[in-house]
């Protein structure tokens, strides 16, 4: 007998090892499953440690510096101070009510981990806890995804846990919970309409809605939005609809008489729907129920932000997603996603309906805004996993079909019934089997390439801390640019403690966290007029700008300029957005003044207003005397 690959799979080595452990098949399966899960858990953790190994353990990007500073404050001063904190070091002279304008979930979790570790006498610094919280939760997310997937494909009872987790935890931690809080009612509505409801749907949705809403309203930032804003009306509407629905069902069950029930039905439903519509109409018309805020409205109408709210349009992560970004982030999942959708539709159940809806809606939103690829990721992963799992299952069934050469009787193997019912002649079986093996090898190759690609992507694109930059010098040596942190520490060490620093809002959080100085505007961007004032100062002539800065008590101005090293995301690059945002509030700033024939130039031929504005003067001060590159004349960027 030839040795076929299938026989190799069941090779004596592995089989005898497992047999020697005296395990039954079910236990073998459990062992394999648990070891795979452990490996995945460890992998998910260490793949996020690239930047910690390459640079050092520090907080990346801009926004996390706010979370870090707040967590520090929480661990130093305690929960009561944290909850009632009014920060006078940002948004000078207005200050910011931090306690009332944040989602505390992330910071409270990090602080809890810190306190637990301290209690166990591990002397960790809060910064290490903050940096490593993300990989830790990434590993936990993979576990959650495993259980979610198990429920989706094999049984459906885990939806209560999933809905609870999303609605409750995410509303504590992130503004994007609005997506979930609209998706779940939409899903419930779909289930009601297609007739797939049962008692457990009632119990699940109501528990989630009541507890979720009550607990979410404890966060001051959320406040009364659950009963007042248009974004939450879907959840409330479905809540009332469910009460009516199930009440009617109970009455029908009590009456046991279709005709009488029809009358009752007619009266109740018409009046209930009528009442609900009137209430909603009155609420919206009178302004009590606020319409959808600009942030979420721009998702439904992507052109809205560019015309009306330039500060939302200016964030680079809010731009529509290019196909290359999709391919970069998802790789083969892009192909497996439609395949998974097919499998979900083939085996339609409550759970697969949910994942299909989640997948389709989140893919739409991911196409509208780059940062929402994050929201689509769980759905895409799960649907692709369904595709892979179903395909591999079918293929391995074909491969194992020949393991019983005489399919007499029902047999114990899962595959023998299939082969005996087919009753196909011996000739086609080897071809089918070899084809299946070839396809299996192809699938495994695809999966390994995917894993390699993801690791590469994480290492190259998602491990850069943004605050520290690296490049290769002329001799191939690695050059580290730590300019951001050096600037902030200069501020910290060389300026009086009550100095006020004016900069563009991107750097606000970092200046307060690392430089420990008061800033005028920061990344919270809650006050557009204040930001527009700063934008106006940056784009005015020096004497006008001086007046504005005097009125704001500014002592220092921080400007990021990349002309010396070729760093491309500096303030000159962002300058037009300063003009647009400033011009949105102060019509004296007009964008065409800074352009030449509609073109943005910063060289000799730039517009005169551009050459004389504060930003230009600060950035290019004495630049003409500077030599940037060996062999080039001075003053060349």
């Amino acid at each position: 007998m030839d040795k076929s690959p299938a026989d190799l799979l069941a090779s004596p080595g592995l089989a005898s090892l497992l047999k020697s452990l005296k395990l039954k098949t079910k236990q073998q399966e459990l062992l394999i499953r648990v070891s795979i899960l452990c490996l995945v858990y460890v992998l998910a953790f260490i793949t996020r440690l690239f930047s910690v190994l390459r640079y050092e353990s520090m907080i990346h990007e801009f926004d996390p510096y706010f979370n870090y500073r707040v967590t520090q404050y929480l661990t130093q001063k305690g929960f009561y101070e944290f909850w009632n904190w009014f920060d006078s070091e940002s948004w000078y002279p207005l200050g910011r009510i931090i306690g009332g304008t944040l989602y505390p979930g992330l910071m409270v979790t990090a602080a809890l981990i810190y306190w637990i570790l301290r209690f166990l006498r591990f002397a960790v610094h809060i910064r290490e806890v903050c940096v490593l919280t993300a990989p830790f939760f990434a590993s936990n997310t993979t576990l959650v995804a495993y259980f979610f997937g198990k429920e989706l494909w094999d049984s459906g009872a885990g939806l209560v846990a999933a809905a609870f987790y999303f609605a409750l935890v995410i509303s504590q931690a992130w503004g994007g919970y609005v997506f979930i809080i609209n998706l779940i009612p939409l899903y419930v509505l779909v289930l009601l309409i297609t007739g797939r409801y049962s008692m457990r749907l009632y119990v699940a949705y109501n528990s989630m809605y009541v507890l979720g809403m009550l607990l979410a309203m404890q966060i001051r930032f959320v406040g009364f939005q659950h009963v007042q804003s248009g974004e939450h009306m879907a959840a409330m509407g479905v809540f009332f609809l469910m009460q009516v629905f199930y009440f009617l069902d109970w009455v029908k069950y009590l009456l046991n008489d279709p005709k009488k029930f029809h009358t009752f039905l007619r009266i109740t439903v018409t009046s209930a729907v009528g009442l609900g519509a009137i209430a909603l109409g009155v609420g919206t018309a009178s302004g009590y129920i606020s319409p959808w805020t600009g942030r979420f409205y721009s998702l439904l109408d992507p052109t809205y932000a560019k015309d009306h709210i330039p500060i939302i349009a200016s964030v680079s992560e809010h731009q529509p997603t290019a196909w290359s970004s999709f391919m970069f982030d998802f790789h083969i999942l892009l192909l497996l996603f439609p395949a998974g959708l097919y499998f979900c539709f083939k085996r339609l159940s409550d759970a697969t309906i949910f994942i299909v809806m989640y997948g389709l809606t989140s893919m739409y939103f991911a196409g509208v805004m780059v940062r929402l690829i994050l929201v689509a990721t769980p759905a895409v992963c799960l649907i692709s996993a369904i595709a892979v799992s179903a395909t591999i299952k079918n293929l391995t069934q074909l491969v194992r079909a020949k393991s019983k050469p005489n399919p007499v009787g029902p047999g114990k193997g899962t595959s023998s019934t299939k082969s005996s019912s087919k009753g196909s002649p011996d000739q086609s079986m080897p071809i089918q089997r070899n084809g299946a093996i070839a396809l299996l090898l192809g699938v495994f190759y695809l999966l390994t390439r995917y894993a390699v690609h993801c690791t590469w992507v994480t290492s190259e694109a998602y491990s850069s801390p943004s605050i520290v930059l690296a490049a290769r010098g002329a001799h191939g040596n690695r050059v580290i640019f730590d300019d951001y942190r050096e600037a902030y520490f200069w501020l910290r060490q060389n300026t009086p403690p009550d100095a006020k620093v004016m900069s563009w809002w991107d750097y606000g959080y970092q200046i307060t966290a690392m430089g420990n100085r008061t800033v005028i505007v920061d990344n919270n961007t809650w006050n557009n007029t204040h930001i527009a004032t700063v934008g106006r100062a940056m784009s005015s002539y020096e004497d006008e700008a001086y007046e504005i800065m005097r009125s704001l008590d500014v002592d220092y101005v921080l400007v990021v300029f990349g002309g010396v090293t070729g760093y491309s995301s500096d303030d000159i690059n962002k300058f037009l957005w300063m003009v647009r945002i400033g011009g949105g509030v102060f019509p004296v700033i007009k964008e065409p003044d800074y352009l030449v024939n509609g073109e943005y130039r910063v060289d000799k031929g730039a517009a005169p207003k551009m050459l004389n504005c504060l930003m230009y003067k600060l950035s290019y001060y004495r630049f003409g005397e500077l030599t940037t590159e060996y062999g080039k004349p001075p003053g060349v960027a």
Partner: protein, 107 residues
């Protein structure tokens, strides 16, 4: 003529509902009483707010929502305790969708 037919219908409805309800076991009736109590408390609070005004809104919301919430959770409890519907609890489909019945009743 039409009016008396409707009232007779309503009375019929009412009687059959009463008789059917009398057949429910006692423990469920206690839960039902609690639900009615919670809903009545919520209604009283809404009426009070309509008269006196909604400040402080926090208290009003917490009062009403706790009442509504506990009523709804009691209904969930009743569903899961009710031995007669036990069989349906694990099903994921009923026989006839309610929406179709509603449409049929309008004809």
């Amino acid at each position: 003529m039409g009016r008396s037919a409707t009232t007779k219908d309503a009375q019929d409805l009412f009687h059959s509902l009463r008789s059917a309800y009398a057949a429910t076991p006692n423990n469920l009736k206690i839960i039902d009483l609690y639900i009615v109590f919670a809903v009545v408390t919520a209604v009283i609070q809404v009426v009070y707010m309509a008269i006196v005004g909604s400040f402080p809104f926090n208290s009003f919301l917490s009062g009403v929502l706790s009442c509504v919430g506990t009523a709804v959770l009691a209904v969930s409890l009743r569903i899961q305790v009710n031995k007669e519907i036990q069989g349906n609890a694990s099903q994921s489909k009923f026989s006839v969708p309610l929406i179709d019945q509603y449409r049929a009743s309008l004809v």
